[in-house]
Chain length 280, copies 4
């Protein structure tokens, strides 16, 4: 039986890595369909992503790669399959709705197992798509209590791959984030690092910028400072107040978030030094 | 004799302004070739730029407008003519060279009266175009002394309209800037307000952004915080180190600076609340 | 009672039009909230769009404008209200779904009265949103018969304002189009006029372009040759086959179509000489 | 002595190519600084570009690669050096001037050996940069005679690498082009394949497009139909007549042409099936 795998390797750089890896692929009789590599010469780091297929034992290949690659090399063999994704949102529907439509159309290599929100607002939209909607209100709860409840609800979905914050408007604590290292994707409604924090459109309007943007990034301990996955921008003019900018910005937000999500689902992102290497 | 004027008006907003202004134009028998207006409803401000032509007395028109417009209205009648521009630069040639080529081609409504630099590096380039090059070295001088010398050199060019900082890499003091209110245009090599200050490309690289940009703005007392005139961006990837970003960024810098300069030369910019209204 | 109107005027250009119109607005005691005008000097045409409010009789205003404007001036006073829209689609869901989500979120000044398709494919998606779905199969029908059936179904929705072809993949005859002059909006999946006709992504791939795009336009008698409302593009590379281009192009298609639809719903488009004047 | 080479390989695709090539690099003790490959699966074609360095005999490496690669593999070992370039222009200076400024700044891996024009217009600009300017007027000459004269002048510059048509406004015959296969780079002032032929800005204006562009391509026998290297676009509005579009388009033209030229100078382009594979 022919199997398809994505082979993801990152390790310290040294001479002959491509040779050693491609030799292993050869020895296992693999077809290499795609190959991307990147050397960060300054920091002596090597990254490679290959799409391979063949009749082979992935465990044996992984073992072989471990033998030929430098110590501490990170080697991942990933078989393409719909990844399990939980969406989180608050009240705005544009990012959430966009992902639901893409999911429905089979555009995403994902199974959306549920949506968690701190409001009831989006229930009717989500349930149209027969996706479980869980409202975990934060009213009257300490932040820690609220997050514990959310964790509990996420737990009910079983082992999940990614959490997508599709305009979830509450800050997550480092404790929460620690459960999902490099697995929470957020959309921030500005061209980071400009306009960190609350109401970036208002900030952009006040500063009088001529371009606004959106940034999809992994969430880490520091608000809006995680590794950036994708960004895009649109022009604005003096004639737009901040509400008009917000309205125009929605399209960028949803496109950028969907782009980042796809990259994650297709295993095209390496995270390194709070930055991303993207093999798109 | 038919005369062409740009009429620039900004004042507090009230009912019937367009009517009053267009009536004045009518009464003076003017042809209105272009008309742009903008009302900032939130702040109750009115802006209008008209291109008019006719056989008329501009002083009488200005007087008439003063009568019909609200108190403290700012009214400017500008006859199109090459504006006098001084360029300032340090060592990099891409922005400077681009302006010189455009000037040579007659693309700019400007007369470049001279270039001032704190190095000799660009003399040979500038003198190819028969434009005076003045080197005012900052070596061994206090900042105030240095700026005084520059002011002296600028003074020799007579009354000037604009100073363009075409990659002039020294900070100007508020005292210097005060001489040229809303008349100094700078190009900052980042998408402001991201990456204020030194080496924005290094900052952008370290942050791992996926887009870089450039910002042309008027210079005020606070470094990189003046009213933004124009911005543009280009995509970058993980595979670019900061030198590669810098190199790619040069094209955006020169295009954005030229765009801002043209807007200024054609009297298409209103400055207001540290922002710009652009009638392009 | 204060009423809000959009006043749309196009007529041959002559001196003093803005004066005459703004005088009428003044005489009727109107507040002018927004004003945009454009003169096509080459062809002697004048266009103006104003947003006005006040306690006034719109019929009297229209009569007054008729008196002061040149003969054959086209004057429209439009009161903002949700316009009635029929969507047509075939099998692809990205444009249709995007409009449905926007509609659901209240982002569009529209009431979507129904969706007509020549297949059953999209029924389940549309009915999630409680919008009538009518399948009019073309199987076994002459083109004229098929269109007659569609016309009949559209007729059941009452008087409609716009038809949006959200990836409706059949060509409409001039006879059909004639029923809805300047009221059918189509999305073409290329940067027109490049790649007119079938499978533009395949054409783009074969030609080896480095950018692909999408075009929203009014439909007239000639396929893909109607007045263009909006266009946008994205970069592509040699590494993308035409299916990858098609997939990447979907995002541009839906954004461009939504943009055009909004312009139409907000009465911001003038059609003239097979082109559009857009006051966005 | 350490030598740097770019290794360019294209051949029919088969299993193990990367392995064989990287093994050869390994056996020769090479450092692989950069590696890009692309497989056109549909057509069974393999492309690879590597930047390697080491103390080695390039002739021996080439021989070894010939042994391990499929028959008819095209193997090029290119040592980075300033390539010899002839510019051709007519009357417009923006593209020409831009290249001259970049050349002067050391931004291009090129030696510009001369400029050939059919007019005297640009002589003064070119000679500022101490570059030979040859005017070969077409007045009173048959096309064949004119081109023969140009060929003769080019011949005087010795062996050249590229001809750049920096707004050379005459059509070149297949006979002329045949002398410089894949070595003539042209800038066309439209987003090809839209608006082939004369005055594309006028065509774009007449069609009412909302975006215009520029295309840099290799010249082959058919006007504007050669392999596309780079394209870019800018938005336009109804308010721009074709002269305004032309003026705005100049910036895109010069940036796109410079981008294509750099790709060529850095050996980053493969031509194949009238398309380009770009390893940027």
């Amino acid at each position: 039986m022919t199997r398809h795998f994505r082979v993801l390797i990152d390790c310290k750089d040294e001479k002959g890595l491509v040779y050693k890896i491609s030799k292993a692929f050869c020895d296992f009789g693999l077809n290499v369909e795609k190959n991307r590599e990147y050397v960060d010469a300054q920091n002596g780091k090597f990254f490679m992503r290959s799409e391979v297929s063949g009749q082979f034992d992935p465990i044996a290949l992984e073992a072989e790669l471990k033998v030929v690659l430098p110590e501490k090399a990170r080697i991942r063999l990933v078989e393409p399959r719909p990844k399990k994704v939980v969406l989180m949102a608050t009240k705005e529907s544009h990012c959430l709705g966009d992902i639901l439509i893409r999911h429905e159309a089979g555009e995403l290599e994902a199974q959306i197992v549920g949506v968690i929100s701190n409001y009831e607002t989006l229930r009717s939209l989500v349930e149209k798509f027969d996706i479980p909607y869980v409202c975990v209100s934060h009213e009257g709860l300490q932040r820690a209590e609220h997050e514990e409840k959310i964790l509990e609800e996420i737990g009910k979905f079983g082992e999940i791959d990614y959490i997508v914050l599709a305009k979830y408007m509450r800050i997550l604590t480092p404790e929460f984030v620690a459960h999902f290292d490099e697995r929470i994707i957020n959309i921030h409604h500005s061209f980071l690092p400009a306009f960190i924090g609350a109401n970036p459109y208002k900030q952009a309007y006040d500063r009088g910028v001529k371009i606004i943007g959106a940034t999809a990034h992994f969430v880490n301990n520091n608000l809006d400072e995680g590794p950036i996955i994708a960004q895009d921008v649109i022009p604005v003019t003096h004639a737009m107040d901040w509400q008009a900018m917000q309205s125009a910005g929605r399209d960028v937000e949803k496109i950028v978030l969907a782009k980042a999500l796809k990259l994650a689902l297709e295993d095209k992102i390496f995270v390194y030094a709070n930055k991303t290497v993207i093999f798109d």
